[in-house]
Symmetry: C2
Subunit: 231 residues, 2 copies
């Protein structure tokens, strides 16, 4: 970024660091939600639910800041793309926070039994894979690294596979033991939310690429969010 106006540079850097801050918050909320789900820690779950408020607030502030920059500086080319990408990323990070909050809100003391369930290893594997995607895309943004973003984009297929396997596994448990249906349904929604967080990691990656190269995110990207051929 090479501008005559020093103030403009500062504004762009400020916007970028707000996104980084928001990304850290979203990742932290996500980690708390997952830990709460794994351990059945209801009070940690409640704290995670509460953390989502600051993420929502931050999205509004970032949107305001981006609009102010557009109106005042009338950026063009890569600067304009950077500002637009930041707005879109704030929207994706808000959704990540929202979905992680939904997972956290589902934590009940019942989940204490989760560690005893055979399903827990598949769920943990999915959660770990999503967490990795989220971490990697935030690092790609820190470094403005289009190749790292591409690796995240390609990594979503793995998430979809893990989700589909977990989905089938949960159905099997429900069929074997009707008493598990309540809890398994709860976990089904958690799994779906994890898969969606993975989609937003992909969106974030595509917006990093848009900022750097101008390539618009593909509208028709397959999202793998539908399980067909149910058992």
């Amino acid at each position: 970024m090479d501008h005559t106006s020093r103030a403009f540079d500062d504004e762009l850097l400020g916007l970028t660091s707000r996104i980084q801050e928001m990304g850290d918050l979203a990742r932290h909320l996500f980690e708390n939600a997952i830990t709460a789900l794994r351990t059945g820690d209801v009070s940690l779950g409640q704290r995670a639910v509460h953390q989502d408020l600051s993420i929502d607030q931050m999205q509004i502030e970032i949107e305001d800041l981006a609009i102010l920059i557009i109106a005042r500086r009338q950026p063009v080319a890569s600067d304009l793309r950077h500002v637009i990408a930041c707005m879109r990323m704030a929207s994706d990070l808000e959704r990540v926070g929202d979905l992680a909050k939904s997972i956290a809100a589902r934590v009940t003391s019942e989940n204490n039994a989760l560690s005893q369930m055979a399903i827990s290893s598949s769920l943990k594997r999915l959660a770990a894979a999503v967490q990795k995607q989220l971490s990697r895309v935030l690092i790609a943004f820190d470094r403005l690294d289009a190749e790292a973003a591409e690796a995240v984009r390609l990594g979503d297929v793995k998430i979809d596979e893990l989700y589909n396997a977990l989905f089938r596994e949960l159905l099997t448990y429900m069929m074997e033991d009707a008493r598990s249906i309540g809890q398994c349904t709860n976990l089904l929604f958690c799994a779906k939310n994890l898969e969606r967080i993975g989609d937003h990691a992909t969106n974030l990656a595509e917006n990093i690429q848009y900022a750097l190269t101008g390539r618009q995110p593909l509208a028709a990207r397959p999202k793998g969010d539908t399980v067909t051929g149910l058992p």
Copy 2:
């Protein structure tokens, strides 16, 4: 809207009519998805899935148009709010399209049996209530009517109640007959998507109010998207 520049007026009107057009498309996709689900019409479901592509494309165009207006006209006060509200509404309508697409993609010929299932009346009731919210919020936008938008905002509680009742009903079916678990799980996700479309109708209503009155949407609005105390 009272401006010295006629061209500016035209641009704002153009943006508004693009949102109306996008709203009509989203409503149409939604109606196709619901009809396909009710009748088990797989090919209508596939058409609805395809319709979502134009909605995604339209969101990108609306975003571009809004940014162009902000950069070129530097609108302030209610004009700026109107442009921002349009951008946010495009994002909500894109989500509505996406969720309706997910419902449409779940339609299988199995759903032919849906009309024979006792659950169908509850599901139809939820779908009809969400459809009403969506229609009403689009009319509120056509008329720029803050009171009508408020009625939609308040109407979301009803949706949440219908969803929670349907959720419990589906669990009961699964517990009674393990063979229904596959199909009921599918319907659970459809129900969840309907409930989320209801949330987006509320977001749309709040953004109409924001455009007209400057009141920011409440970040902490209860979303009722978590069922506690599972049977």
